[in-house]
Amino acid sequence: MTNTLEAAYAIWLREIKRFLKSKSRMVGSGGQPLIWLSIIGVGLGSAFALKVGTGIPFLTYMAPGVVGMTLLFSSIFAGVNVIWDRQFGFLKEILVAPVSRLSIVLGKVAGSSTISVLTALLILVVVIAIGVLPLSDLSVLGVLAALLFMVLISSTFVAMGLIIAALINNIESFQVLINFLVMPMFLLSGALFPISGALPVWLDALSHIDPLFYAIDGMRGSLIHFSTYPVLLDAGVALAFAAIFIGAAFVLFKRIQGTR
Protein backbone atom coordinates (compact mmCIF):
# COMPACT_ATOMS: atom_id res chain seq x y z
CA MET A 1 0.00 0.00 0.00
CA THR A 2 2.74 2.46 0.93
CA ASN A 3 4.43 1.57 -2.31
CA THR A 4 1.22 2.33 -4.23
CA LEU A 5 1.04 5.76 -2.65
CA GLU A 6 4.73 6.48 -3.24
CA ALA A 7 4.49 5.53 -6.89
CA ALA A 8 1.34 7.63 -7.25
CA TYR A 9 3.23 10.50 -5.64
CA ALA A 10 6.09 10.11 -8.12
CA ILE A 11 3.65 10.34 -11.01
CA TRP A 12 1.86 13.29 -9.40
CA LEU A 13 5.18 15.07 -8.94
CA ARG A 14 6.11 14.56 -12.56
CA GLU A 15 2.81 16.09 -13.72
CA ILE A 16 3.36 19.14 -11.56
CA LYS A 17 6.98 19.57 -12.70
CA ARG A 18 6.00 19.30 -16.34
CA PHE A 19 3.26 21.89 -15.90
CA LEU A 20 5.54 24.35 -14.13
CA LYS A 21 8.08 24.03 -16.95
CA SER A 22 5.57 24.77 -19.67
CA LYS A 23 4.68 28.44 -19.65
CA SER A 24 2.45 28.20 -22.70
CA ARG A 25 0.30 25.64 -20.96
CA MET A 26 0.00 27.86 -17.91
CA VAL A 27 -1.13 30.81 -19.98
CA GLY A 28 -3.39 28.70 -22.20
CA SER A 29 -5.24 26.91 -19.47
CA GLY A 30 -6.11 30.16 -17.70
CA GLY A 31 -6.64 32.29 -20.77
CA GLN A 32 -9.14 30.21 -22.66
CA PRO A 33 -11.99 30.31 -20.13
CA LEU A 34 -11.54 34.04 -19.63
CA ILE A 35 -11.93 34.54 -23.37
CA TRP A 36 -15.11 32.47 -23.30
CA LEU A 37 -16.48 34.40 -20.40
CA SER A 38 -15.75 37.79 -21.94
CA ILE A 39 -16.74 37.11 -25.53
CA ILE A 40 -19.54 34.53 -25.29
CA GLY A 41 -20.77 35.66 -21.91
CA VAL A 42 -20.82 39.35 -22.55
CA GLY A 43 -21.87 38.89 -26.17
CA LEU A 44 -24.77 36.53 -25.54
CA GLY A 45 -25.77 38.30 -22.37
CA SER A 46 -26.18 41.64 -24.06
CA ALA A 47 -27.74 40.18 -27.19
CA PHE A 48 -30.53 38.50 -25.31
CA ALA A 49 -30.49 40.52 -22.13
CA LEU A 50 -31.03 37.10 -20.62
CA LYS A 51 -32.21 36.64 -17.08
CA VAL A 52 -32.31 33.17 -15.66
CA GLY A 53 -34.73 31.79 -13.13
CA THR A 54 -35.32 34.30 -10.39
CA GLY A 55 -33.61 37.10 -12.25
CA ILE A 56 -30.02 35.96 -12.13
CA PRO A 57 -27.91 37.87 -14.67
CA PHE A 58 -26.62 35.68 -17.48
CA LEU A 59 -22.94 36.23 -16.68
CA THR A 60 -23.51 35.21 -13.08
CA TYR A 61 -25.34 32.10 -14.26
CA MET A 62 -22.51 31.31 -16.62
CA ALA A 63 -19.62 31.84 -14.20
CA PRO A 64 -19.79 28.40 -12.51
CA GLY A 65 -20.21 26.94 -15.98
CA VAL A 66 -17.00 28.54 -17.15
CA VAL A 67 -15.21 27.13 -14.11
CA GLY A 68 -16.62 23.74 -15.03
CA MET A 69 -15.54 24.21 -18.62
CA THR A 70 -12.00 24.98 -17.53
CA LEU A 71 -11.98 21.75 -15.58
CA LEU A 72 -13.54 19.69 -18.36
CA PHE A 73 -11.08 20.75 -21.04
CA SER A 74 -7.89 20.78 -19.03
CA SER A 75 -8.70 17.49 -17.31
CA ILE A 76 -9.73 15.43 -20.29
CA PHE A 77 -6.77 16.63 -22.32
CA ALA A 78 -4.39 15.95 -19.46
CA GLY A 79 -5.72 12.40 -19.34
CA VAL A 80 -5.53 11.89 -23.07
CA ASN A 81 -1.95 13.18 -22.93
CA VAL A 82 -0.97 9.68 -21.91
CA ILE A 83 -1.10 9.03 -25.66
CA TRP A 84 1.95 11.25 -25.99
CA ASP A 85 3.70 9.37 -23.23
CA ARG A 86 2.99 6.28 -25.23
CA GLN A 87 4.15 7.85 -28.47
CA PHE A 88 7.40 9.04 -26.93
CA GLY A 89 7.96 5.81 -25.08
CA PHE A 90 7.77 7.19 -21.55
CA LEU A 91 4.71 5.10 -20.77
CA LYS A 92 6.85 1.96 -21.12
CA GLU A 93 9.13 3.24 -18.38
CA ILE A 94 6.09 3.45 -16.10
CA LEU A 95 4.57 0.17 -17.23
CA VAL A 96 7.68 -1.93 -16.54
CA ALA A 97 8.00 -0.54 -13.03
CA PRO A 98 6.98 -2.79 -10.15
CA VAL A 99 4.02 -0.63 -9.19
CA SER A 100 0.31 -1.31 -9.06
CA ARG A 101 -1.59 -0.10 -12.11
CA LEU A 102 -3.92 1.60 -9.63
CA SER A 103 -1.08 3.86 -8.51
CA ILE A 104 -0.44 4.83 -12.12
CA VAL A 105 -4.08 5.84 -12.58
CA LEU A 106 -4.33 7.54 -9.19
CA GLY A 107 -1.07 9.44 -9.68
CA LYS A 108 -2.13 10.64 -13.08
CA VAL A 109 -5.61 11.65 -11.85
CA ALA A 110 -4.20 13.42 -8.81
CA GLY A 111 -1.51 15.26 -10.75
CA SER A 112 -3.71 16.47 -13.56
CA SER A 113 -6.54 17.30 -11.18
CA THR A 114 -4.25 19.40 -9.01
CA ILE A 115 -3.32 21.50 -12.01
CA SER A 116 -6.90 21.73 -13.33
CA VAL A 117 -8.37 22.64 -9.97
CA LEU A 118 -5.74 25.31 -9.31
CA THR A 119 -6.44 26.84 -12.71
CA ALA A 120 -10.18 26.70 -12.07
CA LEU A 121 -9.72 28.35 -8.68
CA LEU A 122 -7.84 31.12 -10.41
CA ILE A 123 -10.80 31.61 -12.77
CA LEU A 124 -13.12 31.61 -9.78
CA VAL A 125 -11.08 34.34 -8.14
CA VAL A 126 -11.17 36.38 -11.34
CA VAL A 127 -14.95 36.14 -11.76
CA ILE A 128 -15.38 37.13 -8.14
CA ALA A 129 -12.93 40.00 -8.52
CA ILE A 130 -14.69 41.44 -11.56
CA GLY A 131 -18.01 41.19 -9.78
CA VAL A 132 -19.61 38.56 -11.98
CA LEU A 133 -20.06 36.37 -8.94
CA PRO A 134 -21.40 38.67 -6.22
CA LEU A 135 -19.43 38.25 -3.01
CA SER A 136 -22.67 38.54 -1.06
CA ASP A 137 -23.89 35.25 -2.52
CA LEU A 138 -20.88 33.31 -1.33
CA SER A 139 -20.47 31.38 1.89
CA VAL A 140 -17.48 29.48 3.20
CA LEU A 141 -19.44 26.25 3.04
CA GLY A 142 -20.58 27.05 -0.49
CA VAL A 143 -17.04 27.66 -1.70
CA LEU A 144 -15.82 24.46 -0.04
CA ALA A 145 -18.67 22.53 -1.68
CA ALA A 146 -17.75 24.09 -5.02
CA LEU A 147 -14.17 22.99 -4.45
CA LEU A 148 -15.38 19.45 -3.88
CA PHE A 149 -17.32 19.56 -7.15
CA MET A 150 -14.21 20.85 -8.91
CA VAL A 151 -12.18 17.92 -7.64
CA LEU A 152 -14.91 15.51 -8.73
CA ILE A 153 -15.18 17.04 -12.19
CA SER A 154 -11.46 16.92 -12.82
CA SER A 155 -11.05 13.38 -11.45
CA THR A 156 -13.90 12.15 -13.63
CA PHE A 157 -12.55 13.68 -16.79
CA VAL A 158 -8.86 12.90 -16.25
CA ALA A 159 -9.99 9.30 -15.82
CA MET A 160 -12.13 9.59 -18.96
CA GLY A 161 -9.08 10.91 -20.82
CA LEU A 162 -7.04 7.95 -19.58
CA ILE A 163 -9.75 5.57 -20.75
CA ILE A 164 -9.75 7.17 -24.19
CA ALA A 165 -5.96 7.03 -24.35
CA ALA A 166 -5.99 3.36 -23.41
CA LEU A 167 -8.60 2.56 -26.07
CA ILE A 168 -7.42 4.58 -29.03
CA ASN A 169 -3.75 4.79 -29.74
CA ASN A 170 -3.37 7.22 -32.53
CA ILE A 171 -3.33 10.92 -32.21
CA GLU A 172 -5.27 11.43 -35.44
CA SER A 173 -8.49 10.32 -33.73
CA PHE A 174 -8.10 13.25 -31.42
CA GLN A 175 -10.08 15.82 -33.40
CA VAL A 176 -12.97 13.41 -33.85
CA LEU A 177 -12.98 12.89 -30.13
CA ILE A 178 -13.24 16.60 -29.40
CA ASN A 179 -16.06 17.12 -31.87
CA PHE A 180 -18.14 14.13 -30.87
CA LEU A 181 -17.48 13.85 -27.16
CA VAL A 182 -16.03 16.89 -25.48
CA MET A 183 -18.04 19.62 -27.19
CA PRO A 184 -21.42 17.85 -26.75
CA MET A 185 -20.62 17.17 -23.11
CA PHE A 186 -19.79 20.80 -22.63
CA LEU A 187 -22.84 22.18 -24.45
CA LEU A 188 -25.29 19.76 -22.81
CA SER A 189 -23.94 20.32 -19.33
CA GLY A 190 -25.88 23.48 -18.70
CA ALA A 191 -22.66 25.44 -18.43
CA LEU A 192 -23.79 27.99 -21.00
CA PHE A 193 -27.56 27.93 -20.78
CA PRO A 194 -30.17 26.36 -18.53
CA ILE A 195 -31.14 22.88 -19.69
CA SER A 196 -34.49 22.23 -18.05
CA GLY A 197 -37.40 23.09 -20.31
CA ALA A 198 -35.13 24.60 -22.93
CA LEU A 199 -34.44 21.43 -24.87
CA PRO A 200 -36.40 18.76 -26.75
CA VAL A 201 -36.84 15.54 -24.79
CA TRP A 202 -34.01 13.59 -26.49
CA LEU A 203 -31.48 16.32 -25.88
CA ASP A 204 -32.71 16.68 -22.34
CA ALA A 205 -32.22 12.96 -21.85
CA LEU A 206 -28.69 13.19 -23.23
CA SER A 207 -27.81 16.01 -20.89
CA HIS A 208 -28.94 13.88 -17.97
CA ILE A 209 -26.33 11.24 -18.78
CA ASP A 210 -23.68 13.93 -19.10
CA PRO A 211 -21.36 13.58 -16.09
CA LEU A 212 -20.63 17.29 -16.22
CA PHE A 213 -24.32 18.21 -15.90
CA TYR A 214 -24.68 17.24 -12.24
CA ALA A 215 -21.36 18.63 -11.12
CA ILE A 216 -22.04 22.01 -12.71
CA ASP A 217 -25.56 22.03 -11.31
CA GLY A 218 -24.14 21.30 -7.89
CA MET A 219 -21.45 23.92 -8.21
CA ARG A 220 -24.00 26.50 -9.28
CA GLY A 221 -26.17 25.53 -6.33
CA SER A 222 -23.24 25.92 -3.94
CA LEU A 223 -22.11 29.25 -5.35
CA ILE A 224 -25.23 31.14 -6.43
CA HIS A 225 -27.98 29.05 -4.81
CA PHE A 226 -29.60 28.15 -8.10
CA SER A 227 -29.78 24.52 -9.15
CA THR A 228 -32.06 22.02 -10.87
CA TYR A 229 -31.45 19.30 -8.28
CA PRO A 230 -30.55 19.38 -4.59
CA VAL A 231 -26.80 19.92 -4.16
CA LEU A 232 -26.43 16.69 -2.18
CA LEU A 233 -27.98 14.67 -4.98
CA ASP A 234 -25.65 16.34 -7.46
CA ALA A 235 -22.69 15.51 -5.22
CA GLY A 236 -23.76 11.87 -4.97
CA VAL A 237 -24.10 11.47 -8.73
CA ALA A 238 -20.82 13.31 -9.41
CA LEU A 239 -19.03 11.10 -6.89
CA ALA A 240 -20.48 7.99 -8.51
CA PHE A 241 -19.32 9.14 -11.94
CA ALA A 242 -15.80 9.81 -10.64
CA ALA A 243 -15.61 6.38 -9.01
CA ILE A 244 -16.91 4.61 -12.13
CA PHE A 245 -14.48 6.34 -14.47
CA ILE A 246 -11.46 5.88 -12.20
CA GLY A 247 -12.40 2.21 -11.79
CA ALA A 248 -12.74 1.75 -15.54
CA ALA A 249 -9.40 3.45 -16.15
CA PHE A 250 -7.79 1.10 -13.62
CA VAL A 251 -9.25 -1.97 -15.34
CA LEU A 252 -8.05 -0.80 -18.75
CA PHE A 253 -4.57 0.03 -17.47
CA LYS A 254 -4.25 -3.46 -16.07
CA ARG A 255 -4.61 -4.78 -19.58
CA ILE A 256 -2.62 -2.15 -21.36
CA GLN A 257 0.51 -3.40 -23.12
CA GLY A 258 3.52 -1.70 -24.59
CA THR A 259 3.55 -0.28 -28.08
CA ARG A 260 3.78 -3.64 -29.74
Binding site: E6, R18, K21, G89, E93, A97, P98, Q257, R260
Partner: protein, 329 residues
Protein backbone atom coordinates in the same frame (compact mmCIF):
# COMPACT_ATOMS: atom_id res chain seq x y z
CA UNK B 1 28.53 -23.41 -10.45
CA UNK B 2 26.40 -20.53 -11.59
CA UNK B 3 22.72 -20.89 -12.22
CA UNK B 4 20.49 -19.51 -14.89
CA UNK B 5 19.38 -15.89 -14.83
CA UNK B 6 16.72 -16.45 -17.46
CA UNK B 7 14.98 -19.62 -18.50
CA UNK B 8 12.72 -19.36 -21.52
CA UNK B 9 10.77 -22.40 -22.60
CA UNK B 10 8.62 -22.91 -25.72
CA UNK B 11 7.78 -19.24 -26.00
CA UNK B 12 5.25 -18.20 -28.64
CA UNK B 13 3.83 -14.81 -29.56
CA UNK B 14 1.27 -14.32 -32.26
CA UNK B 15 -0.08 -11.05 -33.58
CA UNK B 16 -3.18 -12.15 -35.46
CA UNK B 17 -1.87 -14.70 -37.93
CA UNK B 18 1.70 -13.57 -37.72
CA UNK B 19 4.03 -15.65 -35.58
CA UNK B 20 6.43 -13.04 -34.26
CA UNK B 21 8.09 -15.48 -31.89
CA UNK B 22 7.76 -19.10 -32.90
CA UNK B 23 8.45 -21.43 -30.03
CA UNK B 24 11.87 -20.48 -28.73
CA UNK B 25 13.69 -21.90 -25.71
CA UNK B 26 16.95 -20.67 -24.29
CA UNK B 27 18.78 -19.96 -21.03
CA UNK B 28 20.89 -17.02 -20.01
CA UNK B 29 23.53 -17.82 -17.42
CA UNK B 30 24.16 -15.69 -14.39
CA UNK B 31 26.87 -13.09 -14.97
CA UNK B 32 27.15 -13.42 -18.71
CA UNK B 33 26.44 -11.05 -21.57
CA UNK B 34 23.98 -12.84 -23.79
CA UNK B 35 23.21 -11.52 -27.26
CA UNK B 36 20.20 -11.94 -29.49
CA UNK B 37 21.48 -11.44 -33.01
CA UNK B 38 19.14 -11.20 -35.96
CA UNK B 39 17.79 -8.94 -38.68
CA UNK B 40 15.03 -6.41 -38.10
CA UNK B 41 11.70 -8.09 -37.61
CA UNK B 42 13.25 -11.36 -36.47
CA UNK B 43 11.40 -11.26 -33.15
CA UNK B 44 14.14 -9.86 -30.91
CA UNK B 45 12.20 -6.93 -29.46
CA UNK B 46 9.05 -9.01 -29.09
CA UNK B 47 10.99 -11.57 -27.05
CA UNK B 48 12.57 -8.90 -24.85
CA UNK B 49 9.15 -7.26 -24.40
CA UNK B 50 7.74 -10.54 -23.14
CA UNK B 51 10.61 -11.17 -20.73
CA UNK B 52 10.27 -7.63 -19.39
CA UNK B 53 6.47 -7.93 -18.84
CA UNK B 54 5.47 -5.43 -21.51
CA UNK B 55 3.82 -8.06 -23.66
CA UNK B 56 1.96 -11.16 -22.58
CA UNK B 57 3.12 -14.32 -24.34
CA UNK B 58 0.65 -16.33 -26.40
CA UNK B 59 2.11 -19.41 -24.70
CA UNK B 60 5.28 -20.64 -23.04
CA UNK B 61 7.04 -19.86 -19.79
CA UNK B 62 9.66 -17.32 -18.82
CA UNK B 63 11.53 -17.40 -15.55
CA UNK B 64 13.85 -14.68 -14.33
CA UNK B 65 15.90 -15.89 -11.39
CA UNK B 66 13.22 -18.50 -10.78
CA UNK B 67 10.38 -15.96 -10.82
CA UNK B 68 7.62 -16.64 -13.32
CA UNK B 69 7.33 -13.44 -15.34
CA UNK B 70 3.72 -13.86 -16.45
CA UNK B 71 2.34 -14.69 -13.03
CA UNK B 72 4.50 -12.67 -10.68
CA UNK B 73 4.91 -9.54 -12.74
CA UNK B 74 5.89 -7.14 -9.97
CA UNK B 75 8.43 -9.51 -8.44
CA UNK B 76 9.99 -10.01 -11.87
CA UNK B 77 9.94 -6.28 -12.60
CA UNK B 78 12.01 -5.62 -9.50
CA UNK B 79 14.75 -7.91 -10.79
CA UNK B 80 15.17 -6.33 -14.19
CA UNK B 81 16.39 -3.08 -15.69
CA UNK B 82 15.60 -2.16 -19.25
CA UNK B 83 16.99 0.12 -21.90
CA UNK B 84 14.42 0.21 -24.66
CA UNK B 85 15.18 0.46 -28.35
CA UNK B 86 13.24 3.73 -28.63
CA UNK B 87 13.91 6.47 -26.12
CA UNK B 88 11.64 6.38 -23.08
CA UNK B 89 12.70 9.52 -21.25
CA UNK B 90 10.63 12.54 -20.33
CA UNK B 91 12.17 15.22 -22.52
CA UNK B 92 10.73 18.05 -20.47
CA UNK B 93 12.37 16.92 -17.27
CA UNK B 94 16.08 17.19 -16.54
CA UNK B 95 18.36 14.18 -16.55
CA UNK B 96 18.37 14.18 -12.76
CA UNK B 97 14.58 14.42 -12.54
CA UNK B 98 14.22 11.45 -14.86
CA UNK B 99 16.46 9.37 -12.63
CA UNK B 100 14.73 10.62 -9.50
CA UNK B 101 11.35 9.61 -10.96
CA UNK B 102 12.70 6.14 -11.62
CA UNK B 103 14.12 5.85 -8.10
CA UNK B 104 10.74 6.78 -6.61
CA UNK B 105 8.85 4.33 -8.81
CA UNK B 106 11.15 1.52 -7.70
CA UNK B 107 11.06 2.55 -4.06
CA UNK B 108 14.77 3.42 -3.89
CA UNK B 109 15.04 5.60 -0.79
CA UNK B 110 18.26 4.83 1.01
CA UNK B 111 21.19 6.86 -0.33
CA UNK B 112 19.08 7.93 -3.29
CA UNK B 113 21.27 10.96 -3.97
CA UNK B 114 24.51 8.99 -3.95
CA UNK B 115 23.07 6.26 -6.12
CA UNK B 116 21.91 8.76 -8.72
CA UNK B 117 25.23 10.59 -8.60
CA UNK B 118 27.08 7.31 -9.02
CA UNK B 119 25.14 6.09 -12.03
CA UNK B 120 25.50 9.53 -13.63
CA UNK B 121 29.24 9.35 -13.12
CA UNK B 122 29.33 5.86 -14.52
CA UNK B 123 27.99 7.10 -17.86
CA UNK B 124 29.80 10.43 -17.70
CA UNK B 125 26.72 12.65 -17.47
CA UNK B 126 27.31 14.28 -14.08
CA UNK B 127 27.79 17.70 -15.69
CA UNK B 128 24.61 17.55 -17.76
CA UNK B 129 22.29 16.27 -15.04
CA UNK B 130 20.56 19.60 -14.46
CA UNK B 131 19.72 20.16 -18.11
CA UNK B 132 16.42 19.26 -19.71
CA UNK B 133 16.68 16.00 -21.60
CA UNK B 134 15.43 17.61 -24.79
CA UNK B 135 18.81 19.38 -25.03
CA UNK B 136 20.66 16.03 -24.97
CA UNK B 137 22.17 14.32 -28.02
CA UNK B 138 21.04 10.84 -29.01
CA UNK B 139 24.10 9.30 -27.41
CA UNK B 140 23.58 11.19 -24.15
CA UNK B 141 19.97 10.04 -24.00
CA UNK B 142 21.04 6.45 -24.44
CA UNK B 143 23.65 6.81 -21.72
CA UNK B 144 21.10 8.33 -19.39
CA UNK B 145 18.79 5.40 -20.04
CA UNK B 146 21.56 2.93 -19.27
CA UNK B 147 22.22 4.80 -16.02
CA UNK B 148 18.52 4.74 -15.22
CA UNK B 149 18.21 1.02 -15.86
CA UNK B 150 20.77 0.44 -13.15
CA UNK B 151 19.41 2.67 -10.36
CA UNK B 152 17.32 0.05 -8.61
CA UNK B 153 20.21 -2.45 -8.69
CA UNK B 154 18.56 -5.01 -10.94
CA UNK B 155 20.02 -8.47 -11.27
CA UNK B 156 19.74 -8.42 -15.02
CA UNK B 157 19.84 -5.58 -17.49
CA UNK B 158 18.13 -5.72 -20.89
CA UNK B 159 19.43 -3.63 -23.73
CA UNK B 160 17.35 -3.55 -26.90
CA UNK B 161 19.57 -2.44 -29.79
CA UNK B 162 21.67 -0.27 -27.46
CA UNK B 163 23.71 1.43 -30.18
CA UNK B 164 21.12 1.76 -32.91
CA UNK B 165 21.59 5.03 -34.78
CA UNK B 166 24.66 6.13 -32.82
CA UNK B 167 27.99 7.24 -34.28
CA UNK B 168 31.02 4.90 -34.01
CA UNK B 169 32.63 6.83 -31.15
CA UNK B 170 29.49 6.81 -29.04
CA UNK B 171 28.97 3.13 -29.82
CA UNK B 172 32.41 2.36 -28.40
CA UNK B 173 31.58 4.32 -25.24
CA UNK B 174 28.33 2.44 -24.80
CA UNK B 175 30.16 -0.87 -25.23
CA UNK B 176 32.57 0.29 -22.60
CA UNK B 177 29.79 1.08 -20.09
CA UNK B 178 28.07 -2.21 -20.79
CA UNK B 179 31.28 -4.16 -20.25
CA UNK B 180 31.97 -2.27 -17.04
CA UNK B 181 28.50 -2.94 -15.66
CA UNK B 182 29.02 -6.60 -16.43
CA UNK B 183 32.58 -6.92 -15.10
CA UNK B 184 32.60 -4.49 -12.18
CA UNK B 185 29.03 -4.79 -10.95
CA UNK B 186 28.56 -8.41 -11.90
CA UNK B 187 25.38 -7.63 -13.75
CA UNK B 188 23.88 -10.21 -16.09
CA UNK B 189 23.14 -8.56 -19.42
CA UNK B 190 20.93 -9.59 -22.28
CA UNK B 191 21.04 -7.50 -25.40
CA UNK B 192 19.63 -7.59 -28.89
CA UNK B 193 21.46 -6.30 -31.89
CA UNK B 194 21.60 -6.59 -35.62
CA UNK B 195 25.21 -5.39 -35.63
CA UNK B 196 27.54 -8.35 -36.02
CA UNK B 197 30.55 -6.53 -34.63
CA UNK B 198 28.58 -5.59 -31.54
CA UNK B 199 27.56 -9.17 -30.85
CA UNK B 200 31.11 -10.34 -31.51
CA UNK B 201 32.69 -7.72 -29.29
CA UNK B 202 30.36 -7.79 -26.29
CA UNK B 203 28.65 -11.10 -25.96
CA UNK B 204 29.83 -14.15 -24.10
CA UNK B 205 27.19 -16.16 -25.89
CA UNK B 206 25.07 -15.40 -28.91
CA UNK B 207 21.74 -16.75 -30.13
CA UNK B 208 21.07 -16.21 -33.81
CA UNK B 209 17.38 -15.56 -34.33
CA UNK B 210 15.47 -15.31 -37.59
CA UNK B 211 11.77 -15.53 -38.43
CA UNK B 212 10.97 -15.88 -34.74
CA UNK B 213 13.14 -18.94 -34.27
CA UNK B 214 16.54 -19.47 -32.68
CA UNK B 215 18.74 -21.04 -35.32
CA UNK B 216 21.90 -21.50 -33.33
CA UNK B 217 23.36 -20.65 -29.91
CA UNK B 218 26.97 -20.55 -28.81
CA UNK B 219 30.00 -18.41 -28.11
CA UNK B 220 31.22 -16.32 -30.99
CA UNK B 221 34.11 -18.77 -31.45
CA UNK B 222 31.86 -21.80 -31.39
CA UNK B 223 29.61 -20.28 -34.00
CA UNK B 224 32.54 -19.46 -36.23
CA UNK B 225 34.09 -22.88 -35.75
CA UNK B 226 30.80 -24.46 -36.75
CA UNK B 227 31.58 -23.32 -40.26
CA UNK B 228 34.50 -25.75 -40.35
CA UNK B 229 37.27 -23.50 -39.17
CA UNK B 230 39.88 -21.11 -40.53
CA UNK B 231 40.88 -20.93 -44.13
CA UNK B 232 44.68 -20.93 -44.63
CA UNK B 233 45.95 -19.86 -48.01
CA UNK B 234 49.45 -20.87 -48.97
CA UNK B 235 51.29 -19.48 -51.97
CA UNK B 236 53.11 -22.30 -53.71
CA UNK B 237 54.19 -23.43 -57.20
CA UNK B 238 54.04 -27.18 -56.67
CA UNK B 239 50.35 -27.27 -55.69
CA UNK B 240 49.69 -30.97 -56.31
CA UNK B 241 52.76 -32.07 -54.34
CA UNK B 242 51.85 -29.97 -51.35
CA UNK B 243 48.29 -31.22 -51.35
CA UNK B 244 49.48 -34.80 -51.41
CA UNK B 245 51.96 -34.10 -48.58
CA UNK B 246 49.59 -32.43 -46.12
CA UNK B 247 46.42 -34.42 -46.63
CA UNK B 248 45.33 -36.25 -43.51
CA UNK B 249 47.73 -34.44 -41.18
CA UNK B 250 46.49 -33.22 -37.77
CA UNK B 251 44.02 -30.26 -37.68
CA UNK B 252 43.63 -30.27 -41.46
CA UNK B 253 40.08 -30.80 -42.64
CA UNK B 254 39.99 -29.92 -46.28
CA UNK B 255 42.58 -29.10 -48.91
CA UNK B 256 41.99 -27.69 -52.36
CA UNK B 257 43.79 -25.86 -55.11
CA UNK B 258 43.42 -22.14 -55.54
CA UNK B 259 44.63 -19.70 -58.21
CA UNK B 260 48.16 -19.26 -56.95
CA UNK B 261 48.47 -21.96 -54.36
CA UNK B 262 46.56 -24.14 -51.95
CA UNK B 263 43.58 -23.45 -49.71
CA UNK B 264 43.45 -25.42 -46.49
CA UNK B 265 40.50 -25.52 -44.08
CA UNK B 266 41.59 -26.22 -40.54
CA UNK B 267 40.07 -25.96 -37.08
CA UNK B 268 42.89 -23.67 -35.97
CA UNK B 269 44.83 -21.93 -38.71
CA UNK B 270 47.64 -20.61 -36.54
CA UNK B 271 48.62 -24.12 -35.48
CA UNK B 272 48.45 -25.45 -39.00
CA UNK B 273 50.88 -23.02 -40.62
CA UNK B 274 54.02 -24.29 -38.82
CA UNK B 275 53.03 -27.87 -39.62
CA UNK B 276 52.63 -27.05 -43.30
CA UNK B 277 55.90 -25.15 -43.54
CA UNK B 278 57.71 -28.04 -41.87
CA UNK B 279 56.25 -30.55 -44.30
CA UNK B 280 56.97 -28.28 -47.26
CA UNK B 281 60.59 -27.84 -46.12
CA UNK B 282 61.13 -31.57 -45.81
CA UNK B 283 59.78 -32.12 -49.34
CA UNK B 284 61.73 -29.19 -50.78
CA UNK B 285 58.56 -27.22 -51.66
CA UNK B 286 58.94 -23.42 -51.52
CA UNK B 287 56.17 -21.47 -49.84
CA UNK B 288 55.92 -17.80 -50.91
CA UNK B 289 53.25 -16.66 -48.41
CA UNK B 290 50.67 -17.90 -45.91
CA UNK B 291 47.49 -16.12 -44.72
CA UNK B 292 44.78 -17.05 -42.27
CA UNK B 293 41.19 -15.97 -42.76
CA UNK B 294 38.99 -16.52 -39.75
CA UNK B 295 35.29 -16.80 -40.56
CA UNK B 296 33.31 -13.84 -39.28
CA UNK B 297 29.93 -13.90 -37.61
CA UNK B 298 28.69 -12.52 -40.87
CA UNK B 299 29.81 -15.72 -42.62
CA UNK B 300 28.00 -17.71 -39.94
CA UNK B 301 24.86 -15.69 -40.41
CA UNK B 302 24.90 -16.07 -44.18
CA UNK B 303 25.50 -19.79 -43.90
CA UNK B 304 22.64 -20.24 -41.41
CA UNK B 305 20.02 -18.00 -42.97
CA UNK B 306 21.09 -17.88 -46.57
CA UNK B 307 21.21 -14.13 -46.60
CA UNK B 308 23.03 -11.10 -45.35
CA UNK B 309 21.87 -9.58 -42.06
CA UNK B 310 21.59 -6.13 -43.53
CA UNK B 311 19.39 -7.11 -46.47
CA UNK B 312 16.36 -5.46 -44.96
CA UNK B 313 13.05 -6.50 -46.40
CA UNK B 314 14.89 -8.82 -48.75
CA UNK B 315 12.29 -11.43 -48.28
CA UNK B 316 8.60 -10.87 -48.15
CA UNK B 317 7.84 -12.57 -44.84
CA UNK B 318 10.04 -10.13 -42.99
CA UNK B 319 8.30 -7.22 -44.62
CA UNK B 320 4.91 -8.69 -43.82
CA UNK B 321 5.89 -9.28 -40.26
CA UNK B 322 6.89 -5.70 -39.85
CA UNK B 323 3.67 -4.48 -41.39
CA UNK B 324 1.76 -6.67 -39.03
CA UNK B 325 3.55 -5.04 -36.12
CA UNK B 326 2.90 -1.56 -37.36
CA UNK B 327 -0.78 -2.27 -37.76
CA UNK B 328 -0.97 -3.05 -34.08
CA UNK B 329 0.35 0.27 -32.92
Amino acid sequence: MKGNAIEVSKLFKRFGNVKAVDGISFNVKEGEIFGFLGPNGAGKTTTISMITTILTPTSGTIKVYGTDVTHEKDAARRLIGIVFQDPSLDDELTGWENLDFHARLYGVKENKREIIENVLKLVGLEDSAKRQVKTYSGGMKRRLEIARGFIHKPKILFLDEPTLGLDPQTRRKIWDYVTRLNKEEGLTIMLTTHYLDEADMLCDRIAIIDHGKIIKTGTSDELKRSLGGDVVRVGVEKKKELIRAVKGKPFIKKVKESDDGVEITASDGSKVIPIITKIADSKGITITYATIKRPSLEDVFIRLTGRNIREEGADSTTAWRRMGMRARR
